[in-house]
Amino acid sequence: MGISDVIPVPVAVDEELEKWTIWGRPLTDVWFTTTEKIHEIIDMGPIKNVLNWGRKNSLWFLMQPMGCCGVEMLVFGCPHYDCDRFGIFPRATPRQVDVMIISGYITRKYLPAIKDLWEEMPEPKWVMAIGECAISGGPFYDSYNIINNTDRFFPIDVYVPGCPPRPEKFIEGFRALQEKIKQRKDKRGY
């Protein structure tokens, strides 16, 4: 498709414009663009770094306490540890969050529910496994009801070991996630 198909311009102009490129792509592709094309272009260009800088400094996480680590997660959002200063903030509904923290044991019964929560979250989204249970089953590794390999179900970016990890470790985990987002090395490739 050329420019002359849409607006009446001399054919010479059309031919000339087809030679022009932007970031290695024909200008006409960019001109008659779609959302996907914009995303492709953003992915190629340095603008992505600016977006990721914004994303990494506003990581809202899902308040979904499941076990002992859930209590430390509550405390992590409060004074003394104060995650607000890193742009990290707890929210109660999956529709408003960027990060899901798996803060405990995933059982056969809870897996469908937690998968639904993950799907309800808008893109871009990340997931962190915090505590031994979320990583490998922890002290309950030989239970009949626990799912050990959480990473088969979720693209986990950061693992924070500990049983439970202290709130400082939560901060450390989030800083690692921020660094990953900044360097564009996260699992889902934002």
């Binding site: 076990g67 209590v71 056969r108 179900f153």
Partner: protein, 571 residues
Amino acid sequence: MKTANDVLSALQSAFPGVIEEAKVAPERQLWATVKPERIVEVCKYLRDNHGFDHYSGAVGVDRIDEGLFEVTELLASHGAHKVVALLKVKTPRANPRVKSLTGLYWNANWYEREIWEMLGIDFEGHPELYPLLLPDELVGAWPWRKDFKGYPDVTTGERAIETITPDGYTKYHIPPTQAEIEAGTVPAQRPKYPTFREREEMEIKETSEMILHLGPQHALVPGPFLLDILVDGERVRKAFLDVGYIHKGIEKIMENRTYVQGIPITDRLCYMAALTNNEAYCGAVERLLGIEPPERAQYIRVITQELSRIQSHLLGTAEFLTLIASPVYSPFLYMIIDREDVISCIESVTGARINHSFVRFGGVRNDLPDGFKDMTLDALKMVREKTEEYKELFLSDSIYKRRMEGIGVLSPSEARRLGVSGPPLRASDTPYDMRREDPYLLYKDLDFDVITRKEGDSKARIEVRLDEIIESCYIVEQCLDQIPSGPIMADKVPKRIRPDPGEAYYRVEDHRGEMGFFVVSDGTDKPVKVKARGPVYAYFQALPPLLEGVYIADVVAIAGSMDACTSEVDR
């Protein structure tokens, strides 16, 4: 006041030949084996004539060597006397059937359902034998039986099958593999019964009614559970509770660990009350071993447990305040600030913030550090001042009062019938506290009040918790004044813990109510059975009848004032 021997002689004269192998050990516990066909009559006699109005739970034990299942019913009394009756019923393993006590005690329902789904013992006359904790795939595998082979292989995520329902929802399901079916870990055919969804939809009678789902993930409840309410307009007509979303099988895991390895697992039973769970488990094993901790260790246990009670009540109240006024986050933050100071005191002794594993058989792990007394007294002074301030704020706030007064009222008789314990029971004018009822450690020498309220509503439950914070401060100060020097471990604790064959039941006052551990030993280094009787299990069972007829807006005010801990319900 009645003693266990009085009750035993009365039982033996009323039911000659029915009571086998009875004993009284220790002084307030009556152990008896009852013929299975007469258990309902015996319990009815005890309830009507001897004031055993508190059904405290049931324990199922698999005696695979003798080919028997044992079900032990735990009966106690709300203040009439201090005897605990442990009535044992034996049933053959081939065709296990026990008569249900749901006709006598309303709250026997969940305890019997749990034993049915875990051990496969059929309770005759039970109104609804449906799974409670297990997912539907595991029902029929009877995971707590001793011959349950291994655990299902759920380690490969590719096995989750994704289907799109006609409504557009995505469902995940893990089907059993052929190997699992052959090994017997997962039943090939599921027993026929209506699912939770179907059961609640059966209750819809008119087109004006609808079901509202709260959960499993829900803002700020500590752990996932599903509370479905059937509403007609603004009123709740019926409530349904589905638990077991974080069922870990702690009791089965503890059977595969040695006694000492069981202590860290009890922490994770209810992480807010890790120290009292440790105490209940260690107390039961100490009873089996016949040892008693030295005096200094008892003081250290009381100090840490009371500090733990303060932090648990602070967090419970804080969570509740966010529930009833969810945009207002500040009360939560204030109470967490107080809690952090208390946590630092506990951490300086135990070395951990929430999961301590601090109590040992015959003592504690380490001594109080230097400067602990000054640090704790400072923290307690601050906590006491702040708590007085919170109480004053709540009293002066008319919006809070209108939101809370007369909401979710539990009358004393109703509270006893539903089997709740701890602050909700004491808010209903029943001074039932294990520290007085079944004094463990030093509590019989310490000076403290059992806090009660007359109203029984949500406001009273919060007031009881806030007053208990102040009372706990007082207990800790007393202990810090009186604590003697000396050893922190008993002398004759064996290196390898191998208690003599027998059973022990030990109960403590958890932060949330009556917590008991029932430990069965067969002389080896691993327990045959560990049963945790938790307080929140009892609250949760009492929640649906409490929610009937209230407004939708009051559901969180009632459910939150109970201070739930899902992890302990699911175990």
